[in-house]
Assembly symmetry: C2
Homo-oligomer: 319 residues x 2
């Protein structure tokens, strides 16, 4: 397979290395849980070992590769190819990750943050194929956005575009992990959904969720019960409304063709999409709603990885 | 003067025709109040008469012109060169304005809505010269935004990008002219500022504004008294906070280098900018604040006109 790309995914919960065809077909892939006590050199060594295995499993030689793409779970100074920080792993401040990998592999290498990569992944290989203007949201432990405008990732002045998770949606809401009050992430992320459910249960709300030990309650429990349990339904409804409110603001501003929702919480599917769509309809100007589609991502956990492939292919083609 | 551009501005309150040098110098200009009873053909005839006068006053011949740029006070289907509608004038639904003017003048012609044009104007000739990523807001009878991203106007899928005025900022707020509740435009536009002042005065709030007959009270009265009158100060403060909240959402999403505020209300200057900046600081992620500047536009009422010049020059250069 000539023209294959090595794709790496460095996240707070998992590490992945895959060999991917130019058409986005994953030829071989290794995934391991992230050990949060590992330092960056250890993680990079592990990824190279996983890459060797993936190459062997896929029957691909290093010299068949045209580029390396990396999806990183934290902000990236894109022009410099440096990680800025990782909210879940120590030691990633200002690491020249792009050059480290390019020097070791001798291949064109691109590094971008996971939300940007996932947005490009869905545009290139997933739900938003053929779209020029796409808002991608990842709803998971945090909430981030990736923007594809005119077919290209929009990164902004300091590679910081996409921080939709820290948009104010609830002036009287709880404090966010970022320190501010009422951010979208504090109202609609996985932990926010679990917290809202936990608070209602602690206050004695009748619900099948009472059967789950409070310390083990997750957003997945809530979403899985949302079609059968009034409390779970209400909590998904509220989270969806806040998401929809923030999405409406972004749609008014950017007029995309499509909004793609990914990340773990997006697996909730219709119980999340329904209130999101209703809130977007309520808060968006009609002309921007006309052709808008709001869908769940098609690439699941591989969105970032496949976006890194798309980015690497763009770079290889430009040389 | 070779390379000059004819610039037209069609708005709900004024019509303008100007001859402008490629460097953005206005060589001659005519401005008249808009007669809202005029139909589009009458307005176009009037603009051509004003254009003849401006050409004569500037000592420019038609054949010296390289292009025509038009700033239109309403949504424009940009690829088609058609006006979509005008909220202040009748008869502009689906008018092929670009082709009408291009056929009559024989010149490359570009038509865009006024907020887009003003954004490009400030980037090309005004406060945001040299910036790649700029959010422009016009705060006037309505509130609209123009986005310049990577040096180009971002229009979105249906040429509808920039509707920041209809972003929800006050869930318990009053009804907006668009029919929705609590839009930014309902909280911080000129009429919203005048309305908030009028309501407080009717409720008996002590203020120097009590001297103004209620039916004549405008946002200008409020902003001009804001440094000397507690009620006027509070009302400008609240409007600025809502503006800042919406701007923060856009900055989190887009990470621009600069926010430029234009439109009539922006003449309030620091009494508006101070609460805007404070609210943006409060609701924006720190990395996107670092290099951000928030300023009043430099081009005033000519921002749209000069942006139309920039757009026309881009088009002429591409042929």
């Amino acid at each position: 397979m000539a023209g294959a790309v090595l794709a790496l995914d460095i996240g707070g919960t998992k590490l992945a290395a895959a060999v991917v065809s130019p058409a986005g077909q994953v030829l071989a892939e290794g995934v391991v849980p992230t050990d949060p006590s590992c330092c960056p050199p250890e993680i990079i060594e592990l990824l190279f070992a996983m890459s060797e295995q993936a190459l062997e499993a896929g029957g691909i030689r290093w010299r068949d590769l045209v580029a390396v793409g990396v999806s990183f779970g934290g902000p990236v100074d894109f022009p410099a190819g440096r990680t800025v920080t990782c909210h879940h792993l120590p030691g990633w401040e200002g690491l020249p990750l792009r050059d480290l990998i390019a020097e070791r592999t001798g291949l064109p290498t691109m590094v971008d943050n996971d939300a940007n990569a996932a947005a490009l992944g869905e545009v290139t290989f997933g739900a938003a194929r053929g779209c020029q203007h796409v808002l991608y949201l990842t709803v998971s432990t945090g909430i981030g956005a990736g923007l594809v405008l005119n077919g290209q990732i929009h990164r902004g002045a300091n590679s910081m575009a996409g921080e939709l998770g820290h948009t104010l949606v609830a002036p009287d809401g709880p404090r966010c992990t970022c320190g501010r009050i009422g951010c979208l992430e504090a109202m609609a992320s996985g932990p926010a959904i679990a917290r809202a459910a936990g608070e209602a249960l602690a206050a004695g709300a009748p619900s099948a969720l009472q059967a789950i030990p409070p310390s083990q309650l997750t957003a997945r429990h809530v979403s899985e019960l949302a079609n059968a349990d009034a409390l779970a339904a209400r909590i998904m409804q509220e989270a969806g409304e806040y998401l929809g409110q923030a999405i409406a603001g972004a749609v008014n501003l950017l007029n995309p063709q499509m909004v793609v929702i990914g990340g773990g919480v997006s697996q909730a599917g219709e119980v999340l999409l329904r209130p999101v769509r209703a809130a977007v309809r309520r808060h968006t100007v009609p002309q921007s709603l006309r052709d808008l589609r709001i869908v769940i991502g098609q690439l699941g956990q591989r969105a970032g990885l496949l976006g890194a492939v798309a980015l690497a292919l763009q770079e290889a083609a430009s040389r």
